[in-house]
């Protein structure tokens, strides 16, 4: 982290960048939040550790409009999102100085809490440079430990890899954390009976409180105005609770980002209700891979997206019934 901070200060000092986009410590040891730093002094609050899960790519939409370059810290998976935003002309590559930061898997505080660890005062072992494979947690009830891998975010178990897709320089090493197959969960649901599938999704979606956290965090959901907020589809009748958007919000949101979603997992990470929203996006990704050839959004900035592309021999929609 120190290397990162030093380098950031250097770049601020020589005027290469006008600001730094990173994370600053929150009120709790596990909730750092995205922040801009414009001076060396301000950098004192800068943190980068296992709880810095937030994908900063999306902030670059806004930062692209600011005067001067912004140094942005992107983890390997964040760079896919950044690339995708370049492809969609939403960020200006010239306005970004990308520091590819190392990552050894990001942590899910909910998983820590599920282990019965409460009253947390401080957490050791979450530093990136730290080789520790366990977290040492000081709580008001004394010291507790848990395995790092056991409390990682779901997305880190199916990590896309430790390579940055786009960067100006890389600081810190990344670790391979993949220990599960990306589509296993989707396949498990696909294998269910229609009744089971429906029951599963009905249960999950019923938890939704329409707080829009998923939409706010999603780098693909970067529309100036969401269709659910505009009157273009008559889809935002706020008066009635049981409206179109209420029922179909997540399906439509997933469809809107289909072929653009990099599977960064932010939606599920930020959901206060713990809905596994990534299962929608990942279903589309799985289908796209199977039907139209492997495609990873954000891997490059110029390939044709699956939904703006076609071949003469594409599968017919009836394949859905035939696949069983």
């Amino acid at each position: 982290m120190q290397e990162l901070i030093n380098r950031a200060k250097e770049l601020l000092a020589d005027g290469t960048v006008a600001r730094v986009l990173g994370w600053k410590a929150g009120d709790l040891p596990y909730n750092p939040e995205p922040a801009y730093f414009e001076t060396a002094e301000a950098m004192e609050d800068f943190v980068y550790n296992g709880f810095c899960g937030a994908n900063l790519s999306k902030y670059m939409i806004e930062a692209s409009r600011l005067e001067g370059k912004t140094l942005v810290c992107l983890k390997p998976c964040d760079t896919y999102s950044f690339n995708q935003l370049i492809k969609e002309h939403r960020v200006d590559r010239e306005k970004a100085y990308i520091v590819g930061v190392g990552c050894k898997g990001k942590l899910d505080i909910e998983k820590v809490k599920k282990q019965g660890i409460k009253g947390i005062e401080s957490i050791g072992g979450a530093e990136i440079a730290d080789e520790a494979e366990t977290l040492t947690i000081q709580t008001i009830y004394g010291e507790k430990t848990c395995a790092y891998a056991d409390v990682m975010l779901e997305r880190c178990h199916v990590c896309k890899g430790k390579d940055h897709m786009v960067y100006d320089e890389i600081i810190g090493e990344s670790k391979e954390t993949k220990d599960a197959e990306r589509f296993d969960e989707v396949a498990r649901i696909e294998a269910m009976s229609p009744q089971e599938k429906f029951a599963f999704f009905q249960k999950e979606l019923s938890k939704c409180i329409r707080c829009n956290a998923c939409r706010n965090a999603c780098p693909a959901c970067s529309c100036r105005k969401c269709v659910f907020d505009s009157n273009k589809f008559d889809s935002s009748q706020k008066a009635n609770v049981d409206t179109f958007e209420e029922k179909m919000f997540h399906i439509i949101r997933a469809f809107h980002v289909a072929g653009r979603c990099t599977d960064c997992g932010e939606c599920s990470r930020v959901c206060p209700q713990g809905i596994p929203l990534h299962l929608f996006n990942r279903k589309f990704i799985k289908d796209i891979d199977e039907l139209y050839g492997e495609y990873q959004a954000g891997e490059d900035t110029d390939s044709k997206a699956p939904l703006t592309n076609y071949t003469f021999e594409d599968a017919e929609p009836s394949i859905v019934g035939k696949r069983g």
């Binding site: 529309c223 100036r224 269709v227 505009s230 009157n231 273009k232 044709k304």
Partner: protein
């Protein structure tokens, strides 16, 4: 709030028999926005239209719903009527209660219920309609004709005579097309060259016509009135300006083994060649695949003998870009490949030939100098058998499902010509049906039978069996006699099915003109718009649209020309106002819409916007309304809903959905 009038048509009893029209009109009054409703016997009649006009005036209608036949039938009629009464024509919507309702249902209650729902959907839509104004686009006063056969030549001449510039693009080294390969033409038996060559000369001499031979259309963009076309002028290796057409190069060329395309491969030609003596332009090309100079670097004889110094081995393909207001497709046909019909032994015997090959055999400039002889041994045949419908009228994948239309007549012609010139030769024709619908056609065929003694046998041939002595045993049916015939012949002529020139698929794709399962270009309306493609500004001339003979081709060529002239005569075109439009405030500038637009109608511009007081420059999508055809692909691709389609907006369609599911 709109003030909507609903007009329910009885269509005589067509609608009224299955739909309670009074009830539909009555129910309409309960719909939001509806201030007037009435029913009438024939809404499309003058009296019916007058009722609509009257209601517009008297009730101050802002929208009209007509419950009647399909919008494909009378939408334009009603829109024009409304326009005459001072209403924007795009404030009219049709509820299709005939084709989609009364004609398919029997129960009145059921039919009425459905008609009411269809009416509601249309009313819901009109409630959200907005007046639309057709835009204008300019017309480039020049036409392109693709294909230089008789169809293309005739079309070009007619357009040029009307005073417009025309370019002909012809793939082969000369214009003339299939007709130039024919010996005589039915039903008058004039010599084909005698009537075609003057037209070729006229076209090449016409000051308004420019001919690009040995050239192909490479790229087409733009739209009706304003097409931009790239034409590839293939390297001829001969300078067209210098060449005098003396022909010495062809005589001296040592490479003479290339099969002659013009003579259907029945003999050979030199590597530097003009396809035939009357070729226009009379400038040879070098076939680089056959030329010794190009293959080995040695030779160069043609260059040495050319006194004009016209030979240019370094010539490159050239791309010419030109603008056109109208494009006429006249790509013609070829005969089908007979590989799958070897029961007729076409690949096994040289004496089994196609009718087009017979044309060359009969022609004085052909491989046998016009003598009727067997290609295997040069002997004069005594028995000739013609087999009709080879590959035509086949429902399997070997042939074509359609009738090729010209074969009955040219076979009668061939039979007659042979009997006339060689009275000792017996001619037998195996036919399934003899089809002669045309002026003086049946008389012509009867002449072959009655005056020339051609033996017509009703029945198809099953197999042609080559004999060790070189004769051909034809095993066929005589269905009228109910017997199987074994007939010994010296020559067998196959009336081979014709198919559109294979290039037409590529061309149709470039033009976004639709094509049917047989690769014939589709006309805009089978009966009422037979020479227009559904794609605006594209016209069809000749066999590319369907099998036809020379008189029909020439007639269609003229018709296509008239349609093209009608377009070129306009200074401005009104464009379809149902185009996409992007909401500048919602646009993310993501380019997704641009990627799916088939017309290149969407571009991105940096524009100053005022978003609730915030002024900034944004990259936003801009639709060129002249290019946009209104398919709507972009509207669905757009994630933010910024892109919408006028006349079929998201809200309008959702309103229809809601009305139906209510």
């Amino acid at each position: 709030m709109q003030r909507i009038g609903v007009f329910v048509c009885h269509c005589g009893s067509n609608i009224a028999a299955t739909v309670d029209v009074k009830k539909v009109a009555e129910m309409a009054l309960m719909e939001p926005g509806v201030v007037h409703s009435e029913d009438y016997q024939y809404m499309c009649s003058e009296a019916g239209q007058a009722k609509i006009a009257a209601a517009i005036h008297e009730k101050g209608l802002t929208g009209v719903v007509v419950c009647s036949c399909s919008p494909r039938m009378h939408e334009t009629t009603f829109r024009k009527a409304a326009e005459r009464a001072g209403l924007n024509p795009y404030m009219v919507e049709i509820a299709n209660i005939r084709e989609h309702c009364s004609w398919i249902h029997k129960d009145i209650e059921e039919g009425t219920k459905k008609a009411v729902i269809l009416m509601r959907a249309a009313v819901a839509k009109v409630n959200l309609n907005a007046p639309l104004q057709a835009g204008e686009s300019r017309v480039t006063k020049r036409a392109l004709v693709i294909g230089g056969g008789i169809a293309g030549i005739q079309t070009a001449l007619d357009i040029a005579d009307a005073g417009y510039e025309v370019d002909i693009v012809e793939k082969t080294p000369s214009i003339g097309g299939r007709m130039s390969q024919l010996d005589k033409t039915f039903p008058t038996l004039d010599c084909s060259a005698c009537i075609l060559t003057p037209k070729m000369v006229e076209a090449s001499a016409h000051e308004k016509i420019k001919i690009y031979t040995y050239s192909e259309v490479e790229k087409v963009s733009g739209f009706v009135g304003d097409f931009m076309v790239d034409i590839r002028k293939k390297a001829r290796s001969v300078d067209m300006d210098k060449c005098t057409g003396c022909g010495v190069c062809q005589e001296k060329c040592p490479s003479k083994k290339a099969p002659s395309e013009f003579n259907r491969g029945l003999n050979t030609r030199s590597a530097i060649y003009t396809p035939f003596a009357q070729a226009i332009p009379n400038v040879p090309v070098i076939d680089r695949e056959a030329c010794i100079k190009f293959k080995t670097g040695k030779c160069g004889l043609c260059s040495k003998v050319c006194q004009a110094g016209a030979i240019d081995y370094d010539q490159q393909d050239e791309i010419i870009t030109e603008k056109y207001g109208a494009i006429v497709v006249a790509t013609g046909f070829d005969t089908i490949n007979l590989d799958k019909y070897d029961e007729y032994a076409y690949s096994q015997s040289k004496d089994v030939i196609t009718s087009l090959e017979l044309e060359r055999v009969m022609n004085a400039a052909g491989p046998t100098h016009g003598h009727l002889e067997r290609l295997s041994d040069g002997k004069a045949p005594k028995e000739i058998v013609f087999i009709q419908c080879v590959g035509s009228r086949c429902s399997d994948d070997r042939g074509k499902p359609y009738c090729s239309k010209i074969c009955c007549m040219y076979t009668a012609k061939h039979a007659m010509l042979i009997r006339d010139k060689y009275p000792d030769v017996n001619v037998t024709v195996f036919y399934i049906d003899v089809r002669t619908p045309g002026k003086n056609f049946d008389e012509f065929y009867r002449r072959a039978v009655e005056q020339y003694g051609v033996n017509y046998i009703k029945g198809q041939v099953g197999k042609v069996i080559p004999q060790p002595d070189g004769k051909l045993l034809v095993q066929g049916s005589d269905l009228l006699d109910n017997r199987q015939i074994l007939k010994e012949a010296d020559m067998v002529v196959l009336a081979t099915a014709i198919e559109p020139n294979p290039d037409v698929r590529k061309i149709a794709t470039m033009l976004t003109a639709s094509i049917d399962t047989n690769n014939f270009l589709t006309e805009a309306h089978a009966k009422l718009r037979p020479v227009e493609s559904p794609t605006a500004g594209i016209f069809l001339s000749g066999v590319c649209q369907g099998p036809k003979d020379i008189p029909e081709t020439v007639a269609q060529a003229g018709a296509a020309a008239v349609k093209a002239i009608g377009l070129l005569a306009k200074d401005k075109l009104l464009t379809n106002p149902c185009t996409a439009q992007s909401d500048i405030l919602l646009c993310n500038g993501c380019s997704t819409c641009e990627n799916v637009c088939p017309y290149g109608a969407i571009t991105y511009e940096d524009k100053e916007v005022n978003d609730h007081g915030i002024r900034e420059t944004r990259r936003v999508a801009v639709v060129n309304n002249a290019l946009c055809q209104g398919c709507g692909a972009c509207t669905v691709a757009c994630p933010s809903g910024a892109m919408d389609l006028q006349g079929f907006s998201n809200r309008q369609i959702i309103a229809e959905v809601d009305a139906i599911c209510r």
